[in-house]
Every structure is written in C-alpha cells, then in structure tokens.
Amino acid sequence: MASAADTRPPETAGAAPDSVVVRFAGDSGDGMQLTGGQFTLSTALAGNDLATFPDFPAEIRAPQGTLFGVSAFQINFGSRSINTAGDAPDVLIAMNPAALKVNLPALKPGGLVIADTGEFTKRNLDKAKYDANPLEDDTLAKYQVLAFDISALTIEAVKPFGLGNKDALRSKNMWTLGLALWMFDRSREPLHAWLKQKFAKKPDIADANIAALDAGHAYGETAELSGPLKQTHIGPVKSEPGLYRTITGAEAVSLGLVAGAQLAELPMFFGGYPITPASAILHHLARLKEYGVTTFQAEDEIAAICAAIGASYAGSLGVTSSSGPGIALKTEAMGLAIMVELPLVIVNSQRGGPSTGLPTKTEQSDLYQAVYGRNGDAPMPVIACRSPSDAFDCAIEATRIATQYMTPVMLLTDGYIANAAEPWKVPDPAQFAPFPARFKDSLAEGEDFAPYARDEKGARPWVKPGTPGLMHRVGGIEKHATTGNIDYSPDNHQAMTDARAKKVLGVEVPEQDVALGEAGGKLAVVGWGSTYGPIRQAVRRAREKGHDVAQIHVRHIWPLPANLGELLRSFDRVLVPEMNTGQFKTVLRDQFLVDAESLTKTSGQPFQIAELEAAIARYFDGIDGNEGGEVEVNEQQLPNLEAGHDDGSYSDAPFHGEGAVPSGTDTDSEAVNQ
C-alpha cells in the first residue's frame, strides 16, 4: 500500500530518521530468515529498539525462484520506541526477481531497492512472471535503485577458499548482511564470532562466510562514493537501564512456562505434536530438561493434551501447545480437564483459519474457540499475550491461575508473536512472587475425604496418586459435588455446573488500565493480543494530532476485568480492531452491552499503523485539525460510518457510527497485504 508512506509523522521524516524499516526478501533457500535474525541481533546490540516480522512460505522447499517461494524478513528499528515491524519498508533487499515482484508494492515511494542483478536472468524473470527486466525498464522509476551483481561479488570474495560456485553462492546472504551492517554503521565483530561458532567444525566455511560478510561491508564504503547508498546512523533508544536480550514469542512462552512451574514448585510436563507455528515451543522446552521439564512428542494432538492431563493428575504442571486445527482436536480433552478440575496450560499460537487455513500467517480468529468452543458449559480462563516479551509474563500468569484454581487455562498467542523478536529487559526471577502448589496429603482427625470439596477460591484439592489413604476416582462423567462419585441427579448437575462457572468467573484478574490516554474520552480503541503494537502507534499519532482517543489493551479475555464494562462506557465510542471478523467485539457487546464497533482484517498480515490511523481518523472527520482522513486505506475494512444504527436511527452524537455488522468479511486481502 504505497500510500502508507505518507503516514510517517512529519517529525520523523527528516534527514536523520529516528526509525528505519528494512525488508530482506529472497528465495526460501537464500537464508533470508537467518540474515534477518542476525541483522536483528546486531540492531539490538547497537541499542536500537526494534520489532521484526518474518514472513515465510508454507512450503518447506518451494521451487526455486517462484513467487510463492519468496521468504521475507522485515525489521523496524529506531532510536525511539518501536511497537510494530513497520508499515512500509524504506529499504527492500531483493535477492531475485520473484522477491522484487512480491515485495515491491510494499516499498515506500522513494524507497531504496537493492537487487542482485546476477539473479535477474531470463529464466528467473520468467518464473517471477516479468515480461521484461524491471531493473532495465521504468518499473522502479518511483524508487532509488542499487542493482549490482551480488552473486558474482560473492563468488569473487570467497574464491580463496576454493569453494565451488554452488557453495560459494550460499554465502550471498552473508555478503548482503555485510552490506546492511555497513549501511547502518554496525559492528561486524558479533557476526564474526557467531559464524566462527556456528561453523566451528568447518572452519573453511566459517572463513568463507566471514570473507563474504567483510566484502559486502567493504562494498558499501566504496559504493557510497558514487551511488544512492548512504550510511545512516540510528542512535540507541532511551531505555530503562538493565540487561537486555532479544526474544521471540515462542522463546518467551517457553521461558515463562519454566518460570511459572518453578514459582508453583512443580515439575513441568509438556505434551506437544508438531504444528506450525507452535512447534518452536516444543523445541525450546526439549532443551530445558535440567529445569524439571519433561517434553513428550505425542502421536497426535489429542494424545498430547491427554498425556499432559495425566501428568497433572500425577502432580506435575501439565502443558500442551498447538495452533487452531490442533486446538480443535484437543477440545474434548479440555472438557475433561475442566470436569476433573486439574491444572493445565494450553498454548494456542493462532494462525489463519479455518481448517488448515494459512499455516504460516497470523490471525486472531480462535477467540471464540478459546472462550466458547467446547461442548457443554465448559468455562475456562483465557489470557492473551500482546507482544513477544509480554508472552513471558502471560505464561507465568496462566500457570498461576491454573494451579491456584485447579483449572485448564488457555494462553493465546499468534503466528506473529511466536516468530517476531523484540528487545526484552531480562527480569530478575528473585522479584517474582512464588505461588507454590498445595497438595493434599493427609486427613484431619475425623475428616472424610471429599475430592470435590472446594476452598474459598472454588478449587478442589489436588491429591497425587501414591498418597496413602486418599484413594479416589475422577472422571469426565458428572460427579457428586463433594464425593466425586458418579451422580447424574438434576440438582447435582445444576450445582456442579454452577460451581465450575463460579470458580472461573471468580478468578482474580487485575483491573483493566488504559494503555495510552485517559478514561472518559471520545474514542477508545480496544485491542487484545498482537495488535497492541500497531494500535499503540496509531493512537499515539492520533493523540499527537490532538484527538481525544485512548488505547485499552485487554490481557484477560476470560474472565474479563471487572471494571472493563464501566471503563468502556466512559467513552463515546468504542472501536475494536481485530485480525478476525469481530470476535472480541461480540464478546464485549455481549458482556457489557456496549456499542463496540469492529475494524477487522483477515489477510494473514498484521495491521499496519496507517490502517488503524485511518480508522481512528474517521471518528474525527469534520473536526478541526483532523489530518488522518487523508490516508488511503482499504475502504472495505473500515466501519461503515454512513449507515445508520441497527434500529435505523442516526446518532446525534458527533461520532455517529454503526457497528453491528462486522465489516471486514469481504476484505480485499491483496490490497492490504501489499
């Protein structure tokens, strides 16, 4: 969406930008994710704030050079606070024609294209469906172009190491990374160290890669003299003092679960089954056995959750993780965990659905599934992470609720959070408040053991099999309110249904705060999950323009914070942007009878700031000082402000709107994708 280029606030558009967006794009086999990852690390080491967005194809080895085989990695970094991976890249590095074709529409007008001419052969141009070489006609007229033969330069650079051409070309990504390091004035040392370590067993390959990296860097210095290439220095962001590292959502969930299990003083049992994009959690935890973690790759999703339930029954913290289709398979077992009231954490790394949907693309469309998606009245707490680093805290919170309330808890993350990286101020575990799990291991004088007697929180006792004298039976069949024996009687089922609901609704969750702005304004933009970043930036910009808009970001999806209804009602209008067709909006309407309106997007891509800015601007049209309305966005995504209310009336309020119908269902995803 070229127009997004105009949305950068004037204060950041000058000669010394406070943030830059770079996209590395190439063939799946070109190592773009690795390049992006290493560039991210060097960016973090330079003290910039950053956010990344890896965008890779679902196919493992898509045919070389094809449009659907393009893999991209976008990073937004700056000397100011960064919350999103950026709308439109300032710099596009295209390793082949297909990468150029797929990613060019996203590039900001006037942006810089760096292309490897060595790959712009007739064959590759055909595969990318280019009739003519775009480097030679006026396709790139709007942009600055730096096209040279990276392939040949790489081969030249690694010649001394005696590699064949095919092997030599594998270092192309390091050459490109070297150039990028030069462009942003970065130290090469950490990369040298990393390559030496990575190829410790093959020093030749390490040396070749280092040579390629250095050659790319040196090329930058030379090219500066003649072409459009300029070195840019982005200063470090002002951050709280402390120790930092970069972290992805999948890492943060894993570490948070480990921390949570330690705080609960429990061993952790993780049952998983391979699925994109959730497998990374299984991979991380499989390497953390010394923290009392057992990982079990089950035969299917159902077995993964059932084994986790079995482990919880035996006294461990059971955890399972998947993505939408796998979560669907686990549904019946979640009901079992609700029925037998055992702790369990279920992590859902959401992806585009339904069915197989978009395995490698992000979406927030499993909210109904999380809150409502089980047979019977099956209440379960649901928590949503807003960013990679937030996933750490959320995983601890999920563990706390699960073990304190004897309940399964769903932790929602998504493909974007799972793969995206951001700097994280490393917390000190000594600061966390422990919440040790309590096991019942004996009876008081004269006590009759009642496996379903509840404590003040509504939780039943947790008894480990092996405990003498407390043998008892549990099961998915309805059971007596205290003894746990099978009991179908009407009063008992009523009592148990009520008790399960009451326990979950009674889970203590913090009061909802306002993330940006104040309560009681004209517009609240209410989000959950990974939309936090773009909403924050859009609200920030709107506020800079003087609009009375606030950001509210909800972590506790179920139960909702007790004050949320009142907080929402304090605003004239409530806008709920979501990467689905309006699921959270429906929950808010249902729970609080507020006239929440939807802004929806289901293209598999995160929201762009510009899209949200435009949506916010709609509410301020006709208001002095409104600038946001100039932004061109995909109209179909916006709430239809022209239509009346459900009841046919028009509001007299300055912000008349209609929001009953989720309006994003027929989104032209192509337009949004760009």
Partner: protein, 348 residues
Amino acid sequence: MNAPVKIETTLKDWETDQEVRWCPGCGDYAILKAVQRTLPKIGADPANTVFISGIGCSSRFPYYMETYGFHTIHGRAPAVATGVKLANPELDIWLVTGDGDGLSIGGNHMMHVLRRNVDMQIMLFNNEIYGLTKGQYSPTSRVGTPSPSTPRGSVDAPANPCAFALGSGARFVARGFDVSKKLPEVLIAAHEHRGAAFIEIFQNCIVYNKDVFDDFAAPKGAEDRQLWLEDGEPMLFGSEKTGGVKGLRLNTDTLSFEVVEVADGDWQAAGVRVHDTKNRVIAHLLAELPFGPYPMAMGVLYDDPAPTFSDGMIAEREAATKGKEANLAKLLQSGQTWTVDGTAQDPV
C-alpha cells in the same frame, strides 16, 4: 508393574462402596473379581495403584476399585496413562479398555502406548460389540454380525487384538476370558512383565452379544477348544476323555501350525512344538490361528521384555542434564545480551 514393597491386602480392601452397575450376568463382574483377587496375590499397594479407563461398559471399572482411578474420555486412556507414568514412574498402572474404546476410536493411542512400551498392564475387554451405546457392531465383530447399525449383518473384516498388539511392537501379549479360572495367572504374568503388557480378555456381553465366545469358552469341551500356553511346555490340548490329546506342530515349509494327534503322551514323537514366550514369530502364528480348525490360543503368547519408555526418558534426562544446573536467572539471560546504563552498550 512397580511394587517394590509388597503390601498385605485382601479382596475386600480393593472393593469400593460404589454400587456396581453392569447388567446382571455381564462378564465384567467376573473380570472385576479376578482383578480384585489378583492384586492381593501380587502384594499390590492400593495407594500406589492407578486404574485408568476410557469410555464404555468396561471403562466404569475404576469406580469399583479402591485405588486411584481416572475414568477419562473415549479412546484416550493410553495417552492419559502415558502422561501419568512419565510424571510418576513409580505408580503401578492398569489400563482398562474395550474393543471399541481401544481399537476403534483409540486405536492410534493403543498402537503408540505399545510401541513406546510404557510400563502398565493393558486389559482390553473384548466383547465384540458396543454395549454402552446399545449394541452396534464393533471393530472385532465377526463378519455378518447383525446389530442396530448393521441390520443385515456387518460386512467388514474384524481386527484381531493380539495380532494388532504384536504388530504395534508389544513385548507382552496374552489372552484370557472373563470366567476363566486361569485369568488371575495371566494377570500376574502381565504384572510381572516390565513394560506395556497387553491382555485381551474375552468378555461376554450378555445383553447385546450373548455367548458369542461359547464356541471356545463354554465349559463343555473347553479342553478341546482352548490351547493354554506355558513357557517351555509343549503346545497340547484335548484329553484322552474327549477324543484324544492333540498338539501343534510347526510345518517349516509352509511356516504354519498343524494339529497332530499325540499318542500315549509322547508329544516329542508327534513333533509338538514347545512354547517359547520369547519367540515373536511363533507369537504371531498363535495370535492368528484361525479358530475352528485350531483351538483358541490362550495364556501368555509372548513375553520378551525390552527397555521401557520411562526408563528411556529417565536415562535421556540424566544425559541431557548432566553437569547442568537449573539457574533460572542465567537461563533468562541466555543468548546475546547487552546492558543499557545510559551510555555504553557492551555485547556479552
């Protein structure tokens, strides 16, 4: 099995106060008693014993055992039990399942609990019918079984539970039937086996599939129709009273068994095979012996222990954690870090 300390109990200690709700005359009653009789014999500890079941008539079993019990969901008991065992390898786990629960909806989990060799006793009550849902044919029903869902008789071939277990890599496979006096012996052998021990127990569903096993389980003529296997003993059945002692001889050309007459007790002369519970190929042949021309092979078909899943997991954990300390603060700081103190950054 895992009961290092033998506990003295009686049958009564294993009974719960729950009213048993199977149909009167159901074979499940006999199996329940056999189990309750077996556990004192092996010195099992009720507090350390866990019965885990799926869904179906048989899966009500845990409610009637004064032990820890988990009545899970349809077909998933092996998965739940795997988690229980990995979380606490000291527990002595008995899995109770049926032909529908264990071979239809839960066939996948059954295969994997067997191939992983998770240490537990797996009792599959085979009544060749869906009882709890009122009599539909099951994956072990014989071709032509009439049922509400197959009014003109079923047309699909049945699964053979013991052959399935062997094919899945089971290291212990045995057969018994509900009212058999020898059932406790089979259960004891299963319990002695370290690893997944699979026991197919023919069970009479008196309501929906009455006496379907009578052709070999009926007391009359049982000696001729049941071949009770014993390790190191010749494979003999029948008796002088009922028309002669017979035995199984292996035809090495066709790699199949033949029934031979044994004269004057001289089974060696008749070439009768001696049962070797460690011979997997023979176990396959015995599991698949077609009933009719041959007797039903009963008892322990195969028993050859192999490392269990929890042993493997424990060893793997020891190897993976050797020399490593669990320091959460350090873990959180792993990877490349940098400090912000207002001025300098120093990559670590």
